[in-house]
Amino acid sequence: MTNHWIDIRNSDVILIMGSNAAENHPISFKWVLEAKEKGATLISVDPRFTRTSAKADIYAPLRSGSDIPFIGGLINYIIQNNLYHEDYVRLYTNAPFLLNENFKMPGELDGVFSGYDAKNRKYDKKAWAFQKDAEGVVIKDETMKNQYSVFQLLKKHFSRYDIDSVSEISGTPKDLLEKVYKTYASTGKPDRVATIMYAMGWTQHTVGTQNIRAMAIVQLLLGNIGRAGGGVNALRGESNVQGSTDHCLLFHILPGYLKTPSASETTLQEYNDKWTPTTKEPNSANWWGNYPKYSVSLLKAHYGDNAIKNNDFGYNWLPKLDNGQNASWLMIFHEMMQGKFKGFFAWGQNPACSGSNANKVRSAMAKLDWMVNVNLFDNETGSFWRGPGVNPADVKTEVFFLPCCASMEKEGSITNSGRWAQWRYKAQDPQGQSLPDSEMINDLFFRVKSLYEKEGGAYPDPITKLAWDYGPKDASGKVTEVDTHLIAKEINGYFLEDTEIKGKLYKKGTLVPSFAFLQADGSTSSGNWLYCNSYTEKGNMMARRSQEDPTGTGLYPEWSWCWPVNRRIIYNRASVDEYGNPWDPKRPVIKWNGKKWEGDVPDGGWPPLKNPDGTDNPKAMKAYIMKPAGVAHIFGPGRADGPFPDHYEPLECPIQENPFNKSHRINPTAKLFFEEGKEEDIFYTCDIRYPYVCTTYRVTEHWQTGVMTRHQPWQLEMVPQLFVELSEELAAEMSIKNGDKLKVKSGRGEVIAVAAVTTRFKPFKIMGSTVHQIGLPWCFGWQYPEDGSGGDSANLLTPTIGDANTMIPETKAFMVGLEKI
């Protein structure tokens, strides 16, 4: 989130789209209802009328996969009716930037932007370059009237999303579109603010990233980012997934959202040069320009005294990707299916149920030599070898089950959607033989290290040179008990030598106060620069529990700790005008008092853009400090599938042709998995066997694939088995009654589900035809309840394809058929 949970109560308009927050983030509704009590309008946009819609002032249905037209229509509405916050757009975004005169967009190029390479399905982004002057500074038109300006291109691009066209593709009635647009766009005024709460309903599409981009553009046009009650708020799907992404448990990033090195970056210098942005733009802080300080400090944290200048601080001990290698989730199982993996750690996950195209995932597991499943309970993954249709005698995989303990049986922190990291305590000892994950990793590390030291291997150094000081050590040097406080402190970082900064001496071995003090010369360490400031000489900031809220806007600055440096609302320097006065004095985030900023931790202490006399202040910095040019990206030059969002249909969809881009039905850069002869990745679109749009979702009562909650009798009692929701109209067509057993099938698999005939799904009118949509939860699996009465995973239906940028699987829109049984 750019903002945080409590801040939602400050909004005038709350749009919940691509999310069913009342169902899946029920505690958040405390804040939503508080906003409503103060007069806020809640809008729910969802293919299905959900528990969230039940509390909304306005509900608008839309077909799964038509979010870009819906939001594109809003962008068009805002621009056509002059409802954008013009000063904000001019000051804080790249709307005034001029594109090169050859740049063309899908409206002219039938579905693609300039620079498209059809054979390789990718863009040459040099085609999206800005015009620059002789000094390399981007040429801008502050009036935003120049035809090559981002603003005019935006206007032209989204003029294709008129309300009629949007209604045709999404199935949303025109009057509802108008109502939603009018209500939301009313927050373009400086003293009104809106927020968006979104989740997997937006991200799990081949155009997922662009869904978010579209909303970011809306929020920038309306001047809602950096503001109390505003922002772009991602509701994370697990209580600590924010922590896991911050510490970068993903193939393409290192802790603190640094980049995983590639094979061609053979030295630290090349690596740092590649990823450290530079800029010629005046007054731009370009904070990522500090990249080398963070990468070197990370290496020092990993390799300690073994990391020295002469060996590039151990840079070559870091694993590297082959150039352009895609090692994402979908690729893991794709390659596993081809027998390319010997072993697999399924650590705290259940891919046999959570993985898209679960049949493929389950079959792939049988190709492994060994698997280690770490979990609280046995599940469909650890027991894949005895699943439905599997003969254990045919499976050669050796499976180890390591029981881990639950979150309340160990001490440590979690980080919530709002970036708040909270220290949690141990309530009881682990049960039976279960262990905390940290103890398992500790044990594993020392065994692997010892084997390398005794037997050697292809490349032992990356393991044997690791610094590993997480607790008291025995005579052999092995840590006997992991102290999570030591891990947290290493993450924060230490001064490794006596260091003087701005006249103050910081002694060797003391904790670094914040990432502003990290160095690129190897004199500091930090396991994650974003968390530098979380555990300092003042103590464990994450353990704070003060209920003081001096600003009254819900910041609670000393309740836990958030990154970066406890800044609760990021981009907050855009919440003020050029003089440092809040756009919205009733809900200020920061305010310049003549000498410094008051309120939230400012996004950098530099003074406002203008002096009180109206002259530019040369010491000022632009608001969006994490972007090289210092301004927010309305034009996004870094995305794989285009600098502006555009509508492409899901891989499997109910229409033959994409009316917005007739030559490109689907995302032109999404990686395609299907190969002739290999049926496992097959997909069907506009096939009479699979005529219904299908989506998957969660229920409050179950958690993810249900590994934990299916074992809780009180939860299972409430939602005992797989169901499929369908409209009364579709039920009537097929003579289906509530409670009937149905088979739901897709090109890849099938599940048995109980029919829930409901008024909350209604047929859509899409491009003149009636299109039905149905949906199922994905919280069930064959392994438990042991009699199979719960049903199996909805992911047996979902397709092998992911977002063009993130590879997140498209589990929210695909086509299925129904059969009574």
């Binding site: 029920p26 509704f29 528990r51 509900y59 409050t700 009692e717 797989l722 829930a756 909350r760």
Partner: protein, 256 residues
């Protein structure tokens, strides 16, 4: 002053935290259920389920709607169950809860017949069965804690306070947003008044609330008859006695 609860149905999001918190506090079991087509599960209260959320689809305000109704003992001000109980196992406490004493219970189940809201449930499977129903967490309240369901609720659907403050709050909320709420407080008069009161944005009869419950306490119906019995008994005895006296006077003289 008795404790009461205002249930504002416009706030409930159907998360069922209350349903589970109640089971946890009262150490109730779960039962094997099936999905019958709507989310209300268990479909009815039972001896292991003191409270449940009923999911009701309505089309009252737009062409689609969904309401979530918390269902549990209403803790009537003059409970029929307590009046019907021949051994005083159910009593209305001054603190508010209608409480059940299993030691006194003889298993006659008159309370189940008497309750207009169909609340008390019986442990049919047990050889020493009790009647089971919401206890209003009286033991928690006596220790200064909130009832389990109220503590768990993320949206403050339920508000606990003294009875007259609850009534005032209900009236205030309806008056403040008359277009949002229906003009009725369920439980204000039904069955002579209950300690759990409801306000709603959808008419109560569309949500499955029991209709036709008289606006008088049920014991009152029998009380109007029962309370006149002493006078009637005395009156009849006196009358018959007078008749006997007059008749007896005559026979004595004849016999002489």
């Amino acid at each position: 002053m008795a404790k009461s609860v205002l249930v504002d149905l416009t706030r409930c999001i159907g998360c069922r935290g209350c349903q589970v918190a109640c089971k946890e506090w009262n150490e109730r079991d779960a039962r094997k259920t099936t999905f019958k087509g709507d989310f209300t599960n268990p479909a009815k209260l039972n001896s292991d389920t003191y409270t449940n959320i009923k999911f009701v689809e309505t089309a009252e305000k737009n062409n689609v709607g969904w309401s979530f109704i918390k269902n549990q003992c209403m803790h009537c001000r003059e409970p029929a169950c307590a009046a019907a109980c021949p051994v005083g196992a159910l009593t209305k406490t001054a603190q508010g809860p209608v409480s059940y004493d299993y030691d006194r219970c003889i298993g006659c189940r008159y309370c189940m017949v008497a309750c207009p809201f169909d609340i008390p449930k019986y442990e049919w499977e047990s050889t020493s069965p009790w009647v089971q129903k919401c206890t209003f967490c009286s033991e928690r309240m006596n220790d200064g804690m909130l009832p389990a369901c109220i503590k768990t609720c993320p949206t403050e659907t339920m508000y606990l306070d003294d009875y007259d403050k609850i009534v005032a709050e209900a009236k205030m909320r309806i008056a403040k947003e008359p277009n949002k709420y229906v003009q009725h407080i369920y439980g204000l008069n039904e069955a002579g008044g209950t300690n759990w009161l409801y306000i709603s944005d959808i008419p109560f009869d569309k949500l499955g609330f029991k209709k036709g419950i008289p606006n008088e306490s049920l014991p009152n119906y029998t009380w109007s008859v029962l309370s006149s019995i002493p006078e009637k008994v005395v009156g009849i005895v006196a009358f018959l006695g007078a008749v006997a006296y007059f008749r007896g006077r005559g026979s004595k003289e004849e016999g002489n």
